[in-house]
């Protein structure tokens, strides 16, 4: 057997190019479905982990999936808005702690998440550098967002305008980076967190400008009556919130009607959660309450169905490749007829020729197997990171 292996190895070494192509084909076909399986399992785990750590979610009636994806993974698809009143509604029930979310704007490609400090407690987010949100206009960066932006505490980050041609719309706000979060291995790592009021300032619902009662430029004043001064568009609006101009920022009207995208409800206990869900069952209620885990589980069921189709496709491709490999071996045997005849003429038995060919196939399969195991090992070790890169950003 050693002689068969030796001769087979010599043949393989001499025909490196052919062998490499064969090994690569076999490895690819074997490893692709296995890597896919590993990544899908890991993505399921990560998606479910995030969903299961979010007890209840309240948002506008409509797509539950959009609501969950936007609130959990800060997806670009923004659901229908609700108002801050929804948060008050939950608070008033005394059944759960409401955490408002306003995920609509971006800063240099990273989602701006307007929320309250309770969100950081819910997600167990800790500050790695700097300090938490303390002032209007502050932002806290997720670990990866900070790394990719190359920013740290003290730097400034400008929000992106929602639409370049919307002159009357969102003004860019220069935010001060107060801190950077420790890595959390979730969508939070790629987010820019601001106080919910800062998000409203970005939208233009809150703003700051010079005091019209004290301005020396009379051309700014349109009309001055007792207790009221009307200014024109020449009035200087602040695009950055500082300690000096902080007092000049204000919100017009009732903030309970200001928009948010969702409210995370953290029930006091299981019973409170059930009771709270009951409060949103009215048909004419404009809001819905969802169990994120159920929504994501439904999404995963769809992925399972897609996976079955993928598995079938890969099996067919694998079968075709296996047939092609058999064809390669068969054609190779034909091309090697002269060599086989020579070995036979020298006195070799047919069984020995068979053993040599078998040894070649075994070596090729073994090398492919080892390569396959190595690739799988690397994929398995990096599955968590890979899935985050593929699904989180």
């Amino acid at each position: 057997m050693m002689d068969s292996l030796y001769l087979a190895w010599q043949y393989i070494q001499f025909n490196k190019f052919k062998t490499i192509i064969l090994v690569a084909s076999i490895t690819l076909i074997a490893v692709l479905p296995l890597i896919l399986e590993t990544l899908l399992t890991e993505s399921e785990r990560q998606l479910l982990d995030r969903a299961e750590s979010t007890p209840l979610l309240v948002g506008a009636k409509g797509s539950a999936l959009d609501l969950a994806m936007n609130s959990l993974y800060f997806d670009d698809e923004v659901p229908e808005m609700i108002t801050m009143d929804a948060s008050e509604r939950i608070y008033d029930t005394e059944l759960a702690l409401p955490i408002p979310l306003y995920v609509r704007f971006k800063a240099r490609g990273f989602p701006i998440v307007g929320t309250t400090l309770d969100y950081f407690d819910l997600r167990k987010l800790s500050i790695a550098q700097g300090q938490p949100l303390t002032m209007l206009g502050d932002c806290v960066l997720g670990a990866k967002a900070a790394a990719q932006l190359g920013m740290g505490p003290g730097d400034n980050l400008v929000s992106s305008p929602g639409n370049l041609f919307d002159l009357a719309g969102v003004y860019p706000l220069k935010m001060k980076v107060a801190g950077v979060l420790a890595p959390n291995h979730s969508a939070d790592d790629l987010a820019v967190f601001v106080d919910i009021k800062t998000a409203w300032v970005i939208q233009g619902l809150g703003h700051g400008h010079e005091d019209v009662t004290r301005t020396r430029d009379s051309s700014v004043v349109l009309k001055r009556t007792e207790g009221n001064v009307a200014a024109n568009a020449k009035l200087f609006n602040y695009t950055e919130i500082t300690e000096d101009n902080l007092d000049g920022f204000h919100f017009h009207g009732d903030t309970t009607i200001y928009p948010i995208t969702a409210v995370i409800a953290v029930p006091n206990d299981e019973k409170s959660g059930t009771l709270l869900r009951g409060r949103f069952l009215e048909h004419d209620d404009a809001q819905q309450i969802i169990l994120p885990a159920e929504v994501i589980d439904g999404l995963l069921q769809n992925i399972f169905r897609i996976r079955n189709v993928l598995d079938a496709v890969i099996a067919l491709v694998g079968l075709a490749t296996a047939l092609a490999i058999i064809l390669v071996f068969t054609l190779s045997l034909r091309l090697r007829q002269r060599e086989i005849q020579t070995i036979f003429k020298l006195g070799c038995r047919k069984a020995m020729i068979g053993r040599m060919l078998l040894a070649e196939i075994v070596i090729i399969l073994l090398v492919s197997g080892v390569l396959c195991a190595a690739v799988l090992g690397v994929a398995d070790a990096n599955a968590e990171e890979l899935v985050r890169r593929l699904f989180v950003g």
Binding site: D3, Q10, T342, L346, C348, R349
Partner: protein, 237 residues
Amino acid sequence: MHEAADSAGSAIISIHDLKFRYPHGEFRLSIPEFAVTQGEKVAIVGPSGSGKTTLLNLLAGILPPPSSVPGGLIEVGRTAINELNDAGRRDFRIRNIGFIFQDFELLDYLTVLDNILHPYRITGALKLSDEVRRRATHLTEQMGIAGHLKKHPGTLSHGEKQRAAICRALLPNPSLILVDEATGNLDPTNKTRILDLLFESVAGHDATLVAVTHDHELLPRFDRVVDFQAFKSGGGS
């Protein structure tokens, strides 16, 4: 130049009433009597298609022997080749016969040394030992290819390839060496040199040489020349 075969008691090859034909062809070979004595150097000549190569293949047991002829006999040494089965003929061939082919029949993927040692790796009949390796090295030194042992045949000249093929045939110390147009692919200088080396080696091993050749210039170097036109044959070679 046809001489009668000496069928004395020291004959290493004895053929009696050989009648052969390929299963699906017109070719027929008929040899009533043919003998070669131990240590003799015999050249076989004849036109293409007269059955020279067929005879060598029958002697080496590469072709299945004719079994349907009552009384027919192909004997090499004291072994009746036509009575051996496939495995028996292979074992006999690898132990007793060195075959040098016209096209060298070296394997491209093996080095020169591995090609020479190849018969030892493909059968249990020969045992590859350090002594065999030493003998192989010595043979290649004699043949002037000791510097090419790690090269592959594709990088060698025709002459060097044929020398490697001769080393492979001689290494197991066969008592009978069959040569099929060994110099057909060589230039005149190489031809003379290869034949010198072959004859020296055969003499050194006290082996018997049966060589098929078309080159009449070489015939004086042989003890005897057999012209195959004398035998009844037809079809291919």
